[in-house]
Symmetry: C2
Subunit: 602 residues, 2 copies
């Protein structure tokens, strides 16, 4: 990718103009108030760190990758030093409690910062991302002693965290897990088993690694009801003495190997062997799955952000190439008479690609930042907003994860396409974005799993209530702008699409009562419709903000005009995708299930 | 990818049952008649070669790749030996003239064989693929001496070929090319310039490499009208003496480096430097572009086949995994009571993925084999069929190239998705299919270029005639089966989609007369609609064949039932994609072109 430039103006537009972050941050009960000035100062610093420290080491991260040697993992050149700067800057503790060394700022700020770091260097961003999951988990479920020992270190960043869920024979189906926990007399447990796909499971960037491990206590019930959560440190903490926690003896957990992957090669993906490793139960016995979901929800939002990361990175690369590459003349007359040909940005199909990238990535940003603000509201917002925020989060998180990664991958592939054959060559960095990005539709629950969560647990599981809550908000916006002539082109199709989505929900719900396979058969199409409706809602609101600014005579006319034109593109060229998705979602389960298993090949 | 198994039963179904190859081959004027027995014998041997020789060296081809050292390129382990076997088996000359050592069999047979070799090992398949292009080009445009020297060796396979078009500053826009040809007194030329992205430009598999190079003779007109074609051998042929052509002195052409790419790492992609290299003009001066298109058309069909290659390979891998991987229980009741969970093939969304792979890959095969038979007809068919075959080829080749690679890439990505996180790990081979396959939408003209060729040159350029010819065939099939109750579910939507495609053509044609950007703006959507219509035509015909067999009491009931059910899936779950494409194709150019170039980012 060419030089990364953090999109600060876009960020400000979404946060403060679209989502009114000034009012939002003023209303939160966060320990520190995030004023507009502070927001600007922090995000500007984050932009510099991403642009100047992380982006330059991204290519080596891919070309050299992580190296495993006898249980030790060496991260790519510069990764360790960049992490050191990150820790020294206090970035890991941005949203951590002040009493534990954090800065007490709202969660959403850390999410915004993670856009910049993740776009600049996805693999590097994985390490603090995993720590964040462990922090959230111990904050929510750990006891005071666990918080004193682990949380402070994680917030400081001197120790990092992991999530240890998957085993060779079980990914989605965690009820099958075999890792065992045997109680010791001192209240600790001996953990034995093999975990795979453990991001940041071993590396050389921090003095200790804290594994959040799910395992089954001997005698626990089978299936998901017998899963408990444990904290298993690489080095046992040494807190005997002066109250300062240090690193004690090595625990019996080791990295057996790292995976050779399609991408994210700078992120270590480890096979972790627990061999009577000492672990400490977090929360109550047999409630581990629920606790793990605390991490999973943060991780799903983090993965949705990775969808935006690949979109933004690929768009920046493609746009710069399309402006420079001279090839053929415009069909409507020469645009670059002094050159041997016109820049390819003049050609309609290149335009289609760039506009698709732009409309999707800006839409994703509006969507994901909104969710980040809802996360603030759910924990630190005023009382009457919390329940509504929780309900929206339950509905929108699986959509954000699956939709933003699916469309992000599309955008990343478009970026390669704009480069033509050059997109396939490693040195341009465009294909790395595709390879890195491909993991996002797989980890933290595949697209199919998100879709089942959405349609099964969230929508049908709530008797439609969660969807109705969202629909009410959308229809409220539509009614408010119903009579605004300039908004008609956005409001009308948004209102229609929302109504169609609701009707589809009813139809699938009815069919699923007869045959539970009907929900699964429609699930991914259903989720994608949801994503396009949410983005339509975002784009309609962005158009509204922009039109108001233009009407008020804003000095940034070009910026706001571009917003209205991009909204128009979204509604004309992207939104019609729901037509096909509606048809296929309604086509039912029969044609999927009709074939005998033996008849798939002959 | 797990063990590759050449789909011989599918091939036979498409060739002989769907496209009536027995009658087809009997009607050709090919030197050797391809009887059903001979077809079976040759394809069975090709299957063994692909399964036992090529598939096993595919992973090393990716992991080790080609190595460049001081102008020499070493191919991955086993590549050279496999090529030797290929040459000894006479495979390169399958469709070559018997007087030049070939076997005189129809071209389509070589296409079928290339499915097996390309699915088993895409990178390896590139080498004979490039030779085939050079063979076609010299056959069509070379003089007798050039044929005697080069064609015999290429058909034998002891020499291989390349196509040298692209230069650093020009890919699509060949009119910009700078490579120069200066005439020598002996009628030869000195060629000087740099060509990039030259597949098989240098390697260790053959004793000589024959470059087909486009260049500009000094004083030639600018742009595409001043392009001539030259044959430039790596070693100058030594034909002085006993009439046996050998390898003479080294020519001044050298490989400066090879590209580091996303995939097809076993295929050398070379920067070729021509430094007063001796070359010999092929055909008339300044007619090189047209001659190059002889190669390009073969290459586009070859690339369409690569779309099928990735589909078939990924489907085989995903199907085998979906049958073995145990995860969760079916929602309609336990299907594998003796195991800890059900195989994931029971889940509706996994079914959706597998059925999509199956419907698209079998549809692609029907489409591509049809084109291959049309290639036979155009050159060796009975007189009255030649013109119709030519017209269909002109229309269908760009659709096949772009549509089969775009949907092939979709199918390849679905295969990874079925594997969950394991799909991202290199050892399973599923991600290699995606990485290898990604090039197919870029080389031999990007999807966008195919789409412009289709809508601009072929459809609007023929005043709609080419499309009308195809439409007539489709509507003829529909009328014939109109009253067949069992065919209604296929015939009705096919007929409608064909009609809608025709109407869309009229609309775009009208708009393009006002504004030439309108054709470009709709082009890719337009091409994809065409692809779905062609596949619908294929699936309707396949359903017809299968229903007839079932009605006649075939002993292969399961096979034919699967065909009908897959056709149904195609019409219910894939075909509705045209709804969205119709809407976006009709949305026009305005929303694409409205944004100022400076307003794409702020």
């Amino acid at each position: 990718m060419p030089d990364y430039k953090a999109p600060l103006r876009e960020m400000r537009f979404v946060l403060s103009e679209l989502h009114d972050s000034e009012k939002h941050y003023a209303s939160l009960s966060s320990e520190e108030k995030l004023t507009p000035d502070l927001l600007d100062a922090i995000t500007s610093e984050a932009a510099k760190f991403a642009e100047n420290v992380l982006a330059p080491i991204n290519r080596d991260g891919d070309e050299i990758g992580c190296q495993w040697n006898d249980g030790e993992v060496t991260t790519p050149p510069g990764f360790k030093e960049a992490y050191q700067q990150f820790v020294e800057g206090g970035w890991m503790g941005l949203s951590g409690e002040t009493s534990r060394g954090g800065q007490g700022l709202p969660t959403s700020l850390a999410v915004v910062v993670s856009e910049f770091t993740g776009t600049a260097n996805w693999s590097w961003g994985m390490y603090p991302g995993l720590s964040m999951g462990a922090i959230r988990c111990i904050e929510s479920h750990g006891d005071e002693q666990q918080k004193d020992i682990y949380l402070n270190k994680l917030i400081e960043g001197t120790w990092t965290g992991t999530m240890c869920l998957t085993e060779p024979h079980c990914g989605t189906d965690l009820g099958l897990l075999r890792t065992k926990a045997e109680p010791n007399d001192d209240g600790s447990y001996n953990i034995t088993g093999t975990k795979i796909f453990i991001s940041a499971g071993e590396h050389d960037m921090a003095e200790n690694i804290i594994h959040m491990v799910i395992a089954r206590v001997s005698g626990a019930p089978e299936g998901t009801k017998g899963i408990s959560l444990f904290v298993v440190p690489k080095f046992l903490p040494d807190d005997s003495g002066d109250g300062v926690v240090g690193v004690g003896e090595r625990n019996f957990v080791s990295c057996g190997s790292i995976e050779h992957k399609m991408g994210i090669k700078g992120s270590s993906t480890c096979v972790m062997n627990f061999d009577n490793a000492r672990g400490f139960m977090v929360g109550e016995e047999n409630t581990g799955l629920g606790q793990m979901f605390t991490m999973m929800n943060a991780a799903r939002l983090g993965t949705a952000m990775q969808g935006l990361d690949m979109s933004e990175g690929s768009y920046q690369g493609a746009l710069s190439y399309a402006r420079e590459r001279l090839q053929m003349r415009s069909l409507t007359g020469t645009k670059n008479p002094d050159g041997p040909a016109d820049p390819i940005i003049v050609h309609p199909d290149v335009r289609r690609m760039l506009m698709t990238q732009k409309a999707l990535s800006e839409g994703q940003r509006a969507f994901i930042y909104w969710i980040a603000l809802l996360v603030d509201k759910a924990s630190q917002g005023v009382e009457e907003e919390r329940h509504h925020a929780d309900a929206l989060l339950a509905l929108l998180t699986p959509i954000a994860k699956a939709f933003c990664t699916e469309t992000g991958y599309e955008v990343a592939n478009i970026g390669m396409q704009v480069f033509g054959g050059h997109g396939y060559i490693r040195e341009h960095g465009m294909e790395q974005i595709v390879r890195d990005g491909r993991i996002s539709m797989l980890y933290e629950g595949t697209t199919g799993i998100q879709a089942l969560d959405l349609i099964g647990r969230k929508v049908l599981g709530s008797g439609g209530k969660l969807l109705k809550g969202f629909a009410k908000d959308v229809q409220h916006f539509c009614s408010e702008n119903h009579s605004d002539e300039a908004m008609k082109e956005f409001v009308k199709p948004l209102s229609m699409a929302m109504k169609d989505w609701g009707e589809l929900t009813m139809d699938i719900g009815m069919k699923a009562m007869e045959n539970p396979d009907e929900a699964g058969a429609a699930s991914v199409d259903y989720l994608m419709i949801g994503g396009y409706v949410v983005l339509a809602y975002m784009w309609a609101q962005m158009a509204k903000v922009a039109q108001d600014q233009l009407a008020a005579g804003s000095g940034e006319e070009a910026f706001y005009t571009a917003k209205v034109k991009t909204a128009r593109f979204y509604f004309q060229k992207i939104m019609p995708r729901t037509l096909s998705l509606q048809a296929t979602a309604r086509a039912g389960a029969e044609s999927l299930m009709a074939l005998d298993e033996d008849s798939f090949s002959f």
